[in-house]
């Protein structure tokens, strides 16, 4: 059995991530980002997924309580991790990247160009339609990460850590209109299974 809690940062689609994971046979539920590390460990999680939220990470020193807690989890937890939308931006800033107001914010369907279709984006290239909803975007990726997808308006639609199993995506794989989103979750589960074995 695979257990993957979803860190709830008040985004509308966070609960849909739980639904996606349950549909793939994973044990999952929403979890507050303020969860103490010991309590998280007692759930014996195999990975973490973090959802989107209404907050902004443009000023890393002025994060809301929820995002400050989520940033703490990003730094402390050593499991495979998938961060979506605002937590993708949080992941970038936590590792030294930069998030700013998007030159062109994206809402609704966006064409995503896959730059590296290995690992988490396997089978999704050369491009696919994903749904988005963001006013900010990652403008400089952090060191140690590789940009693996972009769109015409946004240069970092997805990124992956070069050594660890940590991924960030700006778009929402959990909404039903991102029809290939379920493949992304399957790829992530494959990575989690591999991580469990090693």
């Amino acid at each position: 059995m695979t257990t993957i809690p979803v860190v709830y940062v008040k985004g509308q689609y966070n609960h849909l991530i739980v639904r996606n994971l349950k549909e793939l046979g994973v044990t999952s539920k929403l979890l507050s980002p303020s969860v103490p590390l010991e309590q998280l460990e007692s759930m014996k999680p195999d990975a973490l997924v973090m959802g989107g939220g209404p907050q902004s990470v443009r000023s890393p020193d002025k994060l809301t309580g929820e995002l400050a807690d989520a940033a703490r989890l990003i730094r402390q937890v050593k499991l495979p991790m998938l961060c979506i939308c605002v937590t993708h931006q949080l992941l970038a800033t936590a590792f030294g990247g930069v998030t700013e107001a998007a030159r062109k914010p994206e809402f609704g369907p966006v064409e995503i160009s896959v730059l590296d279709d290995g690992r988490i984006l396997e089978g999704l290239g050369p491009s696919f339609t994903a749904w988005e909803s963001h006013n900010d975007e990652v403008v400089r990726k952090p060191d140690g990460f590789e940009v693996i997808a972009k769109s015409t308006s946004c240069s970092v639609e997805a990124m992956g850590h070069e050594k660890r199993d940590i991924f960030g995506v700006q778009f929402h794989p959990e909404v039903s209109h991102t029809t290939k989103g379920v493949d992304l979750f399957k790829n992530f589960l494959g990575i989690v299974e591999e991580h469990k074995r090693t």
């Binding site: 008040k10 985004g11 509308q12 689609y13 966070n14 609960h15 849909l16 639904r19 349950k22 549909e23 793939l24 046979g25 989107g52 939220g53 209404p54 939308c85 605002v86 062109k104 914010p105 809402f107 609704g108 369907p109 749904w131 988005e132 909803s133 963001h134 006013n135 900010d136 929402h172 909404v175 039903s176 209109h177």
Partner: protein
């Protein structure tokens, strides 16, 4: 087109859900009587049937006539639910006068919704006291509490999740058997409970009813015109299997904000048409939208193309998408874009906006490609009402729009 997005529902097992949930309801209520608030929609009907399995005659289903339901709806719902195999004895509570007077003079979406919620629970409290009930059962589903908790909009049936304790505020406790489910899962559960198709697949209708489709202030005239337009749109679009389709009404008052002055230019650029062919205006009243997971109470742009271009562009989905994203990207205060279908010069003071979307779970929605000919026909029929001078088609997905307007 027309195929429902949710034929199979993976990983959801109606029978195990049912045995768990009926057990939970029995544990909570301990043989006491429970009032069930039914609207006739699939959520509250399925919630009621789940609870009836658990409680039998201790469940007392009522339906509140808010005056904001569709023409003839309360009586129709009461009649249809009373028939076999559902055989639910529904008691109608007439409260339309109270609802209309409570929202009188309110013009903003959130105030209207909050006034509606207040009246809704006052009426329920009186009914609970009459029956000596400690518990109210309702058909809240996941998107209801997610949107309310996230500050997108106040759903009338969400209290505890936003920190309102119903026991101290209204004197009763709330049971929500479907709170973790989405619409497609509720429909699957309904089919499992042998709910006739007309209910399990019924077109969704919001709890506050026409209130959220009557943009800005609510008047008897607007509600009357909206009820007629709703009939036209529902009759014309029901054969298409769109998950949601309806009419909204807005007054022809236009914003004079200088920051939106260049909107016609933006629209013509996005469409690749000469400026003389495109004219865009921004309505004064605001509607609910969602941008970057945040509520955005934004403006509606109405775009008019010259008659000839309209005939060509009316059905070019890609172009309409460019038009919508072009405007929303450039003007942060605008969340919706609607395309003019038909107009009558010198006509009445109201516009009707037609909306049709495809959605699995009501969390995201794509604009449905309603055939241009059908839209024109709808426009023609609605224009018979002299108070309406324009009919538009909403070309905004969710996000940045929401499915309903307020």
């Amino acid at each position: 087109m027309g195929e429902r997005l949710s034929v199979a529902v993976q990983g959801f097992h109606p029978s195990s859900f049912l045995s768990e949930e009926t057990g939970r309801i029995r544990d909570i209520t301990q043989g006491k009587k429970v009032i069930s608030a039914v609207s006739g929609g699939v959520d509250s009907t399925v919630a009621t049937l789940v609870a009836r399995q658990a409680l039998g005659d201790n469940l007392l289903p009522i339906m509140i006539d808010t005056g904001l339901l569709r023409a003839g709806e309360p009586e129709q719902v009461k009649d249809r639910l009373s028939r076999s195999p559902i055989s639910l004895k529904l008691r109608l509570v007439h409260a339309s006068g109270r609802f209309l007077s409570s929202i009188k003079g309110e013009t903003t979406a959130e105030e209207k919704r909050k006034k509606f919620r207040e009246t809704f629970y006052q009426v329920l409290r009186e009914e609970a006291q009459k029956e000596g009930c400690e518990y109210i059962l309702q058909g809240t589903i996941a998107p209801d509490w997610i949107e309310t908790q996230g500050g997108i909009k106040t759903q009338h049936n969400v209290l505890e999740q936003v920190g309102i304790d119903p026991a101290t505020t209204y004197g009763f406790k709330i049971i929500e058997p479907l709170a973790d489910l989405y619409k497609d899962q509720v429909r699957a559960l309904g089919r499992h409970l042998n709910l006739p198709k007309e209910f399990s697949e019924r077109q969704p209708f919001p709890g506050p009813g026409l209130l959220v489709r009557c943009i800005g202030s609510v008047t008897k005239k607007k509600i009357r015109v909206l009820k007629e337009a709703t009939k036209v749109v529902e009759t014309s679009l029901s054969p298409f299997n769109y998950e949601q389709y309806f009419a909204a009404i807005i007054e022809n008052k236009f914003a004079k904000d200088p920051s939106t002055k260049t909107i016609s230019e933006t629209a013509s650029e996005a469409l690749g048409l000469p400026k003389s062919e495109v004219h865009a205006e921004v309505f004064e009243d605001r509607v609910t939208g969602v941008k970057g997971d945040q509520r955005c109470y934004g403006l509606v742009a109405g775009v008019k193309l010259s008659e000839e271009s309209r005939e060509t562009y009316g059905w070019l989905q890609d172009r309409l998408r460019q038009l919508q994203t072009g405007i929303v990207e450039k003007f942060p205060d605008i969340t919706r874009v609607a395309l003019l279908v038909k107009e009558r010069r010198g006509g009445g003071p109201l516009s009707i906006i037609v909306r049709a979307v495809s959605t699995r779970d009501f969390m995201t929605a794509a604009v449905s490609p309603v055939p241009w000919k059908i839209l024109k026909d709808i426009g023609q029929q609605i224009m018979k009402e002299e108070n309406v001078s324009r009919v538009y088609y909403d070309i905004t997905p969710k996000p940045p729009g929401t499915i309903e307007f307020e």
